[in-house]
């Protein structure tokens, strides 16, 4: 567990600055580019539509995994239990009832558990790249983290992060961001990163 929780900030944390109205377009473009390049990636957004509301959390976690490779649900349960057990000391996971959490429908979850489900879904994909909507770094209640930074670091230590943020937005958190502009040629070819 100590290895998992040791924050590895050696991986780059990129921040793509763009006009506020283009954030969604850029996220679509980045996800599409990563998919076409065959690179394992995940996407984080705190918005309510990020999880499908008509299926349980468990099915929401299973869906992208099963899409990318055959993945029996029994393996998902085991993988999740291992992940949650390893992270049990970190913030939002302290008092989590795993069974009821997995059986719940997303709309019935409080916001921090909703974000946790999105986070676990991304973590299970073991991404090389993490595309993040800047809203992820705005705490829903001032001073209270939707996702503790330590949890983010623990889950995505080996992934490169790329946050798409509107101009002049300050991202909360302990991370040092490297700026990328919209006209950066690397955004057209993922081999150049």
């Amino acid at each position: 567990m100590s290895n998992l929780l040791a924050a590895d900030r050696s991986k780059p944390r990129w921040r793509l600055d763009c006009p506020a109205q283009d954030v969604g377009v850029w996220i679509d473009h980045l996800c599409d580019g990563l998919k076409r390049a065959g690179i394992d990636y995940a996407y984080l957004s705190p918005q309510r539509g990020s999880l499908l509301s008509n299926i349980t959390v468990r099915e929401n976690l299973w869906l992208p995994l099963a899409w990318r490779r055959p993945f029996p649900p029994q393996r998902l349960d085991q993988g999740l239990r291992d992940l949650i057990a390893n992270l049990s000391g970190v913030g939002a996971l302290t008092a989590l009832d795993c069974d009821s959490f997995l059986k719940a429908y997303p709309d019935n979850l409080p916001i921090h558990q909703y974000c946790l489900a999105i986070l676990l879904r991304a973590a299970l994909l073991r991404p090389r790249w993490l595309v993040i909507d800047a809203g992820w770094f705005f705490p829903p209640i001032p001073g209270e983290w939707c996702t503790p930074p330590a949890l983010m670091d623990a889950l995505f230590a080996s992934a490169a992060w790329l946050t798409v943020a509107p101009h002049a937005t300050t991202l909360a958190g302990p991370w040092n961001w490297t700026m990328v502009n919209c006209d950066d040629p690397r955004l057209l070819s993922w081999d150049e990163w």
Partner: protein, 240 residues
């Protein structure tokens, strides 16, 4: 294209899409079967009573032929089709439109999951299977009800030989065409819903309106397709 379709079918087996498929079969097939059985019984009973009123006799072989022809070539496709529109098409339009409004469909795309393969393909396969089963359920229910009402009203005893004879008069090609029509119309309705009825909505109040108008349009498509089919089959039969 072919590889993409193959990949979609491979993904359908042993994946979350299988859950979508089984839920749709349960919803469109199993839950609707009682309504279809009762509708078939009602129509067949009305047919027998009308026949009884005109001829004063029970269910004769001519009446059986007429009932079978009416059911196999028309009603067994149309009545389950309307039940499918009223229940499944309304639900599908509401569900898919809501997913568009809340951004769930976009989130699926961003995760790399193809919305057509996950949301539409399983529903299309399930609806087609369910409609084929409901076609047979309607047929069986209509025949059994006709014999039962004939026995009750005209005192004609239920004879196993006559029931078997009734099933023997069903022409296999009529049965096959009926089954294909049921499946095809359901598939067309689902694709129409995906392509036309659930796109471009941006607010919640639009969803209920979309469902209402969507059902109306799908019913019209059903009726127009049936009218075209009946005219074509009549023309082919008359001028082979």
């Amino acid at each position: 294209m072919a590889w993409s379709s193959l990949r979609s079918i491979r993904w359908l087996v042993g994946s979350p899409a299988l859950l979508v498929l089984s839920r749709q079969i349960y919803f469109s097939g199993y839950q609707s079967s009682l309504v279809v059985i009762l509708a078939a019984a009602l129509i067949a009973s009305g047919f027998v009573l009308a026949f009884q009123g005109i001829t004063g006799a029970g269910l004769g072989s001519g009446a059986i032929d007429a009932l079978i022809l009416l059911s196999v070539r028309g009603l067994a496709v149309q009545i389950p089709g309307f039940v499918f529109c009223a229940r499944s098409i309304t639900a599908t339009i509401s569900e898919l439109s809501l997913m568009s409004v809340t951004g769930e469909r976009q989130a699926l795309q961003r995760l790399g999951v193809d919305p057509f393969t996950y949301l539409i393909l399983p529903r299309l396969v399930a609806a087609s299977l369910a409609m084929m089963v409901l076609y047979l359920v309607f047929l069986l229910s209509a025949l059994v009800s006709a014999f039962a009402v004939s026995a009750l009203v005209a005192g004609v005893p239920i004879d196993l030989f006559r029931i078997l004879y009734a099933f023997e008069t069903i022409h296999p090609s009529d049965l096959a065409v009926g089954l294909i029509r049921s499946a095809l119309l359901a598939a067309i309705a689902i694709v129409w819903v995906d392509r036309i009825e659930t796109r471009g909505h941006s607010s919640f109040p639009q969803v209920s309106r979309a469902a209402s108008f969507g059902v109306l349009r799908v019913m019209l498509i059903y009726l127009l397709a049936e009218i075209v089919f009946q005219i074509l089959s009549f023309t082919v039969a008359r001028f082979p």
